[in-house]
Amino acid sequence: MKDPVEKRIIGLFLVVLAMLSGITVASLRNIQRSAYSIDLVNQSHALISEADAVFSALNAGDAALWSHLLSGDERDQAAARRAYAAAIEHLEVAKALTRPGSPAHDEFLQLDPLVARRGELATEAIKTRKATGAADPGQLSALRGGGLEAIQDCLERVKAREQALVRERDKESYLQAQNTRWIVFTGGAIHVLVLAVLYYLIRNTLAARRLVAETLTAANERLDATVRERTRQLEEANEALVQENLQQRWSNQALDHQLRYHQLILNSIEDMVFVISKVANVVRVNPAVTRRTGFESQELVGGPLQRVLIPAPATPGAETPAKHERILAALKAGHDLLDSPGFLQSKDGQATPVTLNLFPLRDRDKIVGGVLTIKAGQTSAAPPAR
């Protein structure tokens, strides 16, 4: 889809082209007319010239004839004959220059008998001169008249008509030239006007496009700046994330490290260690427990402590308590229980006297359970009766 301004410019160029074509056609036509008119003018001039020549030749012939008639000189006679022949010849040329049926042609046709009559008079006069040896005054008088005035009048009419035609054609030529000038000047002025409009349109279009380009460039620069800023922010955010990730990984490593070493310490202890809940259920045991009792840790974790550790009776011979009352009381009170007696019962049912120590586990001043360390050793309590 073309721009409307572009369409207008193309339209104006087409107008300019059409005008140029029009001016060219009009100019060519005027040149052709002018050439034709020049031909006609030349023809008229030729006709006038031939008319003058006819009259001049007749006059020359008459002059030579008079000389011959008066002097009898043969050379004058010959000159008279040549002059009359030339007159006839010019008359024929003049007739040939005119279109049959035209007034000029008719005028020249009328001259034929008059010129022939002049010839006849001349011939008669020459014969009389030869016969008598002197010119006949009557014939001389006839020669003086002899239709010469009629010939002259006729030729003058032809000349006058042709001169009028020449003037008319001159006027026409002038008008054509004026016309051509007007066409050229008007065309030129309109061209200048159209070119000025074109210049205005092109200049405006270029200015508008420049403005659009500048706006676009400014928008692109703003966009670039925004993108740069956003990229910078993203890079910063990414850098922060990378740092956070590294920090996280390092912290995890540190935590894992700590956990592994704490576990290593706990697992390396040869004394049995139980982590119990507040109601004396087993939460965790160290490998020494599984080695000494034959229980797997999963068999003990989640179950009651008395499954593997039997509480000692309060007094020798008394009945074995169903619960670890002293442990539960110590956990409840939040104090340590040291060197307390008990019996470790292995998976095969064998009971071994042990000494146990309980340390309550505090999480922010709240007792969440306890750590029980057990050492194999003698106790004064009697083995449990099962």
């Binding site: 990378v242 990984r249 390092w250 490290h257 700590q258 070493y261």
Partner: protein, 121 residues
């Protein structure tokens, strides 16, 4: 010119993590998992800083640092220590050998600050 750091630890994860962290500080980090490998790297490319774990497969970090310092006495060194190790007990030894210690549970910021401080010397 990038600063060269030699990192010696038999735990590949720690090596990789510290290598990334120190590379982001603009350092070129070489890693070794044993004392022998560390000494070979030192011979090829003398480092600007040594960071060594205490417990290695073929030696301990303190001995390794002492050995390297015989040829490169001015090179600063950091001993990476685990939670089992109590550096306070051998503080005097560390001070004599001009060795800084950093716990593996220290924060990254602390590690970076120590590295920058020692490299700026």
């Amino acid at each position: 010119m990038k600063k060269q750091i030699l990192l010696i630890d038999d735990e590949a994860e720690i090596c990789e993590l510290l290598q990334q962290i120190l590379a982001r500080e603009g350092c070129e980090v070489s890693t070794a998992s044993t004392g022998v490998e560390a000494k070979r790297i030192v011979a090829e490319t003398p480092p600007d800083l040594i960071i060594s774990d205490l417990q290695l497969e073929d030696t301990d970090g303190l001995s390794l640092i002492a050995e390297i310092k015989q040829t490169l006495p001015a090179v600063p060194a950091i001993l990476l220590t685990g939670v089992l190790f109590d550096p306070e007990t051998i503080l005097e030894t560390l001070r004599k050998q001009s060795v800084t210690y950093i716990s593996k549970t220290s924060s990254l910021d602390h590690i970076r600050a120590e590295v920058r401080r020692l490299l700026a010397k």
